[in-house]
């Protein structure tokens, strides 16, 4: 469902938010460090981050002490924002059976069932923020980041 690029990006964003307690306008975190700490490819991650920077979710800074930092508070960045930038909204707009159009007016044989579930997934991603994810780290003792 999520591309590898999107999975990496979400993990990284959560990690940045976790480092920046209050969440933004703090020290820049180097992409190299993030990739190393999370076991991700530096090359792949820095490439994907370029989109998040362009989209205004991250601010980047070059040179020593450079890196990236959030442009909003963790409570203001939703998972769906990241998904939209990296993967786009195709998943939430397209027919699950591959038809060109997907709407109540032009449904496929399982549209009525799928559209409902899909809406719930959308709700989940749009109601969950980086702050919510961080809270789970404390809430559950054994969460992996």
């Amino acid at each position: 469902m999520l591309s590898a690029a999107c999975k990496d990006s979400i993990r990284a964003m959560i990690y940045i938010a976790k480092l920046q307690k209050e969440g933004y306008r703090e020290k820049f975190v180097s992409i190299h460090k993030i990739a190393k700490d999370l076991g991700l490819s530096f090359y792949f991650l820095s490439k994907n981050f370029q989109k998040l920077v362009k989209a205004g979710l991250l601010e980047s800074h070059r040179g020593p002490q450079g890196g990236v930092r959030l442009l909003k508070r963790p409570s203001e960045i939703r998972l769906i924002d990241i998904v939209e930038v990296i993967d786009g909204m195709e998943f939430f707009n397209n027919c699950i059976l591959g038809f060109e159009e997907c709407s109540d007016q032009n449904p496929c044989t399982i549209h009525n069932l799928w559209a409902e579930k899909r809406e719930e997934i959308y709700s989940m991603f749009s109601s969950t923020t980086l702050e919510d994810a961080i809270k789970n780290i404390d809430k559950f003792s054994n969460v992996k980041v």
Copy 2:
């Protein structure tokens, strides 16, 4: 979420079920006809069907008047059965953030949220049969197959 191969296969299975009103042990339907009627690639579809035949969801027959037909009643073939054969169960077993393990004992930061939604998607696919899909064709006037 579903691969192109899986989307094609589900549509095709629903179409076969629709042709075979009572559902199985009827005339074979040629793959060529199915592909033509649904606007799918004959080559791609026949390749994917090989898996469904091996898995026992379809029976195939070569030669004139040959083709494929269902091995069970449409009410006995669930969408999840097709998904499992074509795409596998990775979607329902793997962590949405890409971690190796996914379980309540070893959760990622959004496992608690995602596992619930994923379970509902699984329920949808495992409680919907080819017969249910066909019924929607009659139930809603404008359904595309």
